[in-house]
């Protein structure tokens, strides 16, 4: 006789959080497909050099472990994205997310620029069906690179009024830590104030900002993870 051990579904929140730590790292078929067969990429270096985009955006750096570059072409008459090329330095989910984003932007005749500006990381994750929670932040650079490319297009095509400026608000006045830093920490998996402090040192000296930090953590947890712990 042989018996097989099966995982059980957890009922309470604490158990769910513990279960997330045991989460399998293996990617879903869609993620793997985009990772191993990335779409909308340049085939050769000559193709990169010869490409004439309407806008280019680049975010991240090799030092932080994630970097993304995006090239876009826009149909000016319809204000729709018609082409999107990309390069990504990062893990499997970062590569798969960018590939999926490029498909979303160009499918069905192309996405209107205004709609593309509204894209959120979770829209990409939704299309990838299921990205491991700890990998969620890897999909965030994609939409940032895209907005940078669109802004570049706005500037190059004389539509400066349309440029979207992403501002950051300083929360910790001494260490100059912004809401963006806290957002980043939450996306990297921080759940509690202590987690965020471990990553950012926020409130180490400027204790007065802690209530606001806690509020921001709740806000970003809600925004990206639907409030589920």
């Amino acid at each position: 006789m042989s018996i097989e051990l099966k995982p059980v579904a957890h009922a309470d929140v604490k158990a769910k959080k513990d279960a997330a730590e045991l989460e399998e790292w293996f990617y879903t078929d869609i993620v793997k497909d985009h990772f191993f067969n990335p779409r909308n990429i340049f085939k050769t270096q000559a193709e990169v050099d010869g490409y004439r985009p309407d806008g280019v955006g680049m975010v991240g750096s090799p030092a932080c472990g994630d970097m993304m570059k995006m090239w876009i072409k826009v149909d000016k008459a319809t204000d729709q994205l018609i082409e999107c090329k990309w390069q990504t330095f990062g893990c499997g989910s970062a590569i798969a997310s960018t590939s999926m984003l490029s498909v979303m932007l160009t499918e069905n005749g192309g996405m209107p620029v205004e709609k593309a500006l509204q894209l959120k990381p979770q829209d990409i994750v939704k299309r990838l069906v299921d990205l491991p929670a700890r990998k969620f932040h890897c999909s965030v650079l994609g939409d940032k690179a895209l907005r940078a490319a669109i802004n570049d297009y706005f500037r190059k095509s004389g539509q400066d009024a349309r440029v979207v400026v992403e501002g950051a608000k300083v929360i910790d006045k001494i260490l100059k830590i912004t809401d963006k830093d806290i957002e980043e920490a939450v996306l990297e998996g921080a759940v509690t104030l202590e987690d965020v402090q471990k990553k950012t040192k926020v409130g180490a000296q400027d204790k007065s900002c802690i209530p606001e930090v806690e509020q921001l953590i709740r806000f970003y947890r809600e925004k990206y993870f639907g409030g589920k712990q």
Partner: protein, 407 residues
Amino acid sequence: MKEIYLDHAATTHVDPRVKAVMDKYWTEEFGNPGSFHTAGLRALRALNAARASVARVLNCIPEEVIFTGSGTESINTAIKGVFRANKAKGKHIITSTVEHHAVLETCEYLEKHEGAEITYLPVDRYGQVKPETLEKAIRPDTILISIMYANNEVGTINHIAALAAVAKKHRVLFHTDACQAGGVLDIDVKKLGIDLLSINGSKIYAPKGVGILYVRRGVPIHPLIHGGGQEFRMRSGTENVPCIIGFATALELAHQEREAENARLTVLRDTLIKGVLSTVPKTFLNGHPTERLPNNVNISFMDIEGEALLLYMNEHGVCASTGSACTSKSLDPSHVILALGLPYEASHGSIRFTLGKNTTEAGIGKVIEVLPDIVQKLRHLSPVNLKMEDVLPQEKVQEIKTFQGAP
């Protein structure tokens, strides 16, 4: 597809000979060594024989060998146990920046909750702690020094005897985490001159869930686990007899066979290093070129990220790792690679291959064959194109050039 397992530093399979020796202790000889009947006595005798066998390899007396549940438990017992038993003397502990998390997290815990003061010694660009660096860090209130024998990520071997001699000179207790050295390097505790040593079973072809802590007689130490007083009151709880027997058998076998196996692995290791560095541009070796474990290869690939490379290799049946198994799920670059002085830009693409008993020349050949195409494909997807001489420290660049000039 045949799997090429190159992650032996994470864990090894159980040697079939070890498993055969263990077998009857699960179902037939299942007695509790503490019981007052013949079934218990038989288990006690088997346990004593296992302890004597480990003591022979370590060149110590059996009473100095404590069986534990893992290397991590041994390390926790050594550091917390010595700290708690000696805190009236002082609260200062010295360790190094490249230790395993079992050491670093334990020290951090003592610092945060029990008032310990920790000095983390820097290492040189190969990952070695210099005896003079250690000597300078010793204070009158230093009670323990814990330095790893061989590094789990980059394979660099420390000169433990020289480091332990410094500790002895200043009458400070010395512990070494020998989890990567057990079964491979000389672990004669007298020759090394150490007070405490930790080894685990899951890296020496023994089962997981068993380890040992050597504690020299007379070392003041407290147990972590209290209860029935097993293991000379140092580790209460019914002894895990089958795994302890497996551990002792595996260690015995490893030390009988280590010379031949080390020689075999060293050849394969160097084939892999030369093969990759000569066929894949913009790559370099991390750790010491010669004073490294015979089974460890750690190579950095510029412009690409380690996890992506790992996934592609996995598709070709090659199991390797980025840093230690514990960190492959996190995104921060390895603390070991950073401690060697590599900049962040060059620290995200390091891959560790660790060879073992079932590693063959053909397997190594396969890795060398598939890697260039995988790396090229990922580099093509990457917007990063760094020059090694721009980002790496000057001496590292020189080392790479020297290697390229070598035949």
